[in-house]
């Protein structure tokens, strides 16, 4: 109890420095969404039950794939183990800085920036904002140079198109 309280105070102090918690803009419930959540395996549902943001996963990977889940109230990271590659999808509802904390030039740079699918350090990566919070996708291959999934954005874009909400607490 004491340990939890100390951790909570530390977290509040850290976040209150310049950052905080983003407010989630939950989408309206739909029958399609409800069906997807109903079909989500119970094991996965249990692991993400306390996450307070929409948990996104690619539709065709929900049931079949082996995965590892790291989840907290404001954050989750799910690693899907593919043949010869790892796919990580994460969501986060915290922020560390606001516009006033950075110089005008950087503000302009960030305002102009758009979502990109980049091939950096041998991986395919994309970061995006949805429902008022942040998400990241990262694909890392065994064969950095030979595996097209990590050198071409086609594969990650396809996964991105398949993202659906599988859980998260409102």
């Amino acid at each position: 109890m004491k340990k939890t309280l100390i951790s909570l105070i530390t977290l509040v102090v850290i976040l209150s420095a310049n950052g905080g918690i983003l407010s989630v803009q939950w989408p309206q419930k739909s029958s399609v969404q409800e069906k997807i959540q109903k079909d989500t395996p119970t094991v996965l549902k249990d692991k993400i039950k306390d996450v307070k943001l929409p948990v996104l996963l690619p539709k065709s990977y929900i049931v079949k794939q082996k995965m590892s889940v790291v989840a907290e109230k404001n954050y989750y990271a799910i690693t899907i183990f593919l043949k010869g590659a790892n796919l990580m999808i994460s969501g986060d509802k915290t922020y560390q800085m606001q516009m006033k904390d950075i110089d005008k030039k950087s503000q302009k740079m960030l305002k102009q920036s758009r979502q990109e699918f980049i091939n950096a350090e041998g991986m395919m990566i994309t970061d995006f904002s949805r429902y008022g919070v942040n998400y990241s996708m990262q694909l890392e291959c065994d064969e950095v140079e030979r595996d097209k999934r990590c050198s071409d954005d086609k594969f990650l874009r396809e996964i991105y198109r398949q993202l659906v909400i599988v859980g998260g607490r409102r």
């Binding site: 954050y75 690693t79 800085m97 350090e121």
Partner: protein
């Protein structure tokens, strides 16, 4: 007439740029080490955003902001050297020689955030560049030096050659090229600041790279109400952390 004026202006500007390059100073930090007797030592570094060689890209010159205050230096022990892998001696675009050349293992440090790369990076002056910094350990020895947690938090991801740590601050740190067999952490594990993660190596899946730690930090900045997750410059935070490590207060 207008052409002459333009030419003069261009010449003046280019000479100013050259003068600016020459004026780049190395900053020296003096500290004392207590090993029986007190020894005075020095660590030197060039300012944030000054890339070496200048042709290696355009850094965020003048940005000395410490984006991640009070972090622990990501290598367990000093010395360590921040400098370019690509433009260093033996590197792909560097001077001829071996990657283990002693000149790659000495001060001053050089920032390599935003060093020329082909991928998009919103905070780099050219819109593209290296999203972190490369750090060499004390010597060129493989699998000898530990990378440690810069902040307390949870290990969010372990991949083929990447370990990600999500700090309690919400900031995300990536450690690349650690030896997979030496990892001291597992997915989801809570780690304390300074706790060992793994040994620095040349791991890049089945491909090999030079022996170094690629370290980067990603955080969320809210711009006009929209959260943007971006790689932020780690150099100044690391200089600050390294000074504390050298002074015995990591």
């Amino acid at each position: 007439m207008r052409l002459y004026l333009t030419l003069i202006l261009v010449l003046l500007l280019s000479s100013c740029a050259k003068t600016k390059d020459k004026k780049v100073k190395t900053i020296t930090y003096q500290y004392q080490q207590h090993h029986g007797s007190i020894k005075s030592k020095r660590f030197s570094y060039t300012p944030a955003g000054v890339l070496s060689p200048p042709s290696s890209g355009q850094g965020r010159y003048g940005d000395n902001y410490i984006y991640a205050p009070h972090i622990r230096f990501p290598i367990e022990n000093a010395p360590a050297y921040i400098n370019s892998q690509v433009y260093g001696i033996g590197g792909m675009n560097g001077k001829a020689g071996k990657l283990c050349d002693i000149r790659n293992y000495q001060y001053p440090w050089h920032d390599n955030f935003c060093e020329e790369r082909g991928w998009g990076m919103p905070l780099c002056p050219t819109g593209k560049g290296h999203q972190g910094v490369d750090i060499r350990t004390a010597t060129c020895a493989k699998k000898r030096y530990y990378a440690v947690a810069v902040e307390s938090g949870r290990i969010s991801y372990i991949g083929k050659y990447t370990v990600s740590l999500r700090g309690n601050s919400g900031r995300k740190y990536r450690y690349l090229h650690l030896d997979s067999n030496s990892l001291q952490v597992s997915r989801g594990q809570y780690v304390r600041r300074g706790q060992r993660i793994g040994l620095v190596s040349d791991n890049m899946g089945r491909t090999k790279t030079s022996i170094h730690l690629h370290f980067d930090m990603k955080q969320t900045i809210v711009i006009d109400g929209i959260p943007k997750q971006v790689y932020v410059p780690p150099y100044s935070s690391l200089v600050d952390a390294y000074k504390r490590l050298l002074s015995g207060r990591p």
